[in-house]
Symmetry: C2
Subunit: 114 residues, 2 copies
DNA sequence: TGAATACTTCAACACTTCATGAGTAGTTGA
DNA sequence: TCAACTACTCATGAAGTGTTGAAGTATTCA
């Protein structure tokens, strides 16, 4: 992954709805989920709004879509998500051991109370 | 790290100048770097623009600052960067093994030509 | 004290992003 | 063909982001 693609991906992820979308689709696995179902799962997100955010994620290559009859099925692209994390960790953060430690240790590393 | 903080951090990172800033400051280590030096290292970024972006990164807790005489020294906060990566990997991507694989394998995983 | 240095803050402007509702396009089954 | 269904696109306006240059604040030194 290059810088341009990483920036696109970061912009795409920097929105609450889209982060929820990714979380949902990653859990859904390769089968993916129809747009209508996604909208319901996210608490009845307006269709146009959902479409807007799905397009943003697809534009950043974080998800893919395929048609199935009258539905459009969306699925996460784990290799691109992994590529983004890899870029941040290796290219951007120089594989800094302090960052590695926080990242690999599960969960709450780095959330000291301040 | 919680969702709000992760969103702040993602927004902060989703800009070319700020990604360059982080890269530079991570490499610089705990000693950090004075604002003026940073501006020079980034090719003579206008002072007000640099200040704006540094404030954005500090607002997202990705960097810290301290005064030293007439300089302001900025340094990356690797534990917060690690916390963000950890959040994305564990909370958001459910520690999906496909993402783990791309993320930990160095570099170019997930950048297949399409 | 006054000039020089190092940064930050402010106001103005251009640009982008986002939410909303209305309209459009493709698929299915009667 | 028509109605129902599913999803996308477009126009609009509000809100947010980024750049610029000028002004302001704090520190140092002669």
């Amino acid at each position: 992954m290059d810088r341009e693609q990483a920036l696109k991906a970061l912009s795409a992820l920097a929105h609450a709805d889209r982060l929820d979308l990714i979380r949902l689709l990653v859990r859904q696995g390769p089968e993916g989920m129809a747009a209508g179902q996604i909208g319901q799962a996210l608490g009845g997100l307006a269709a146009s709004r959902l479409s807007f955010h799905l397009a943003a994620l697809e534009g950043a290559a974080l998800i893919s879509s395929r048609k199935a009859a009258r539905n459009v099925i969306y699925a996460a692209r784990p290799e691109v998500l992994g590529g983004l994390l890899s870029y941040l960790l290796h290219d951007c953060c120089s594989a800094d051991p302090r960052i590695f430690a926080c990242c690999l240790g599960h969960g709450e590393a780095g959330t000291d109370k301040t």
